[in-house]
Symmetry: C2
Subunit: 193 residues, 2 copies
């Protein structure tokens, strides 16, 4: 996705230790025009799998997931990190080590919004180690729903997350792939992704 | 906004103590078609004030704020509750008692995305006691930016938040106003809001 690749090159910042700052257009401030394009691109890549719902995790997954939900006109559910007062009963509950927060985070989804007859498209902002995505996969398995595809806006291929998802035998799509950092330089993959 | 009012009546649930559950279309699952309409309606009501940026708070403010940002084609910034590793320097920082979380939450915005020449439209999911909104107002004042309007998807008028905002002398718009609950019944205001 050329607009995204150009934006990462222009505004992304490597902070060291493989951490990419994209706060100016995705993770703190959101560019709504770019985000709409991201949603349209995910829709184009996943529509043929007939997803019935999108699942993501708060916070930074919400924007790309909502943009995609608007394009596909299917609901999006975001897993919560804390149980809100409005969440009754026994939620589906998994946890993952968080890269960016440096601690274990819980992911909770109410059974009201994830059921065995759903076909789920799983979306997130980053695919890095895949720890968060794998926790969401376990949530989906817990619910009995069918996972039909996984999408990430930005993949950091050097963190190896993609190989963790091979066993699932479903399409895994990233809209931009970072192969490595060389100091300040962000080296994007030239593949069609 | 008729579609929203109808949805609140159909799917909203009064859990007692004035707490409204709208998890099926706004706060856990999001209906993207309704959310797009919400964004278009906020855009219609606030466009003439020429906002340059939208400010909201994570998590539940993000969807309506992004939908509005898409309609107005201006960036949206969401205040973070925890400082992420990517947030350098001294963020603007305010705190508010949270109704739904039962504890004090911090709201952080990087000075990179809020500056003195901005005209800010402040959006959130609920206007109830206005504690969160007032913390965001203080963030904007701290930055030197101009606050041009405040919008909430749902107002609970019986919690009195609107009167807390009168001093600001700016438009405050809600897309649906709940006057009171009578047991399970949700009593919406008949005013044009």
């Amino acid at each position: 996705m050329e607009a995204l690749r150009a934006r990462i090159q222009r505004d992304g910042k490597h902070l060291g230790n493989g951490i990419l700052k994209v706060d100016s257009f995705m993770n703190h401030q959101i560019d709504p025009v770019l985000m709409r394009e991201i949603g349209l691109e995910f829709a184009r890549r996943f529509k043929h799998l007939n997803p019935t719902r999108i699942l993501t995790a708060e916070t930074s997954g919400i924007a790309p997931a909502l943009a995609t939900a608007m394009a596909l006109e299917i609901p999006v559910v975001f897993a919560r990190k804390h149980k809100p007062v409005t969440m009754g009963g026994q939620p589906f509950r998994q946890s993952a080590e968080s890269h960016t927060h440096g601690r274990r985070v819980e992911l909770l989804v109410s059974p009201e919004y994830l059921s065995a007859d759903d076909r789920i498209l799983l979306l997130d902002d980053f695919l890095a180690t895949a720890r968060t995505i794998k926790a969401l996969v376990r949530l989906i398995q817990e619910s009995g729903a069918t996972l039909v595809g996984i999408g990430a806006v930005i993949e950091k291929s050097f963190e190896g997350g993609r190989s963790e998802l091979l066993d699932l035998n479903i399409p895994v799509e990233s809209l931009a792939i970072i192969e490595k950092f060389e100091g300040d330089q962000i080296i994007l993959s030239n593949s069609r992704n």
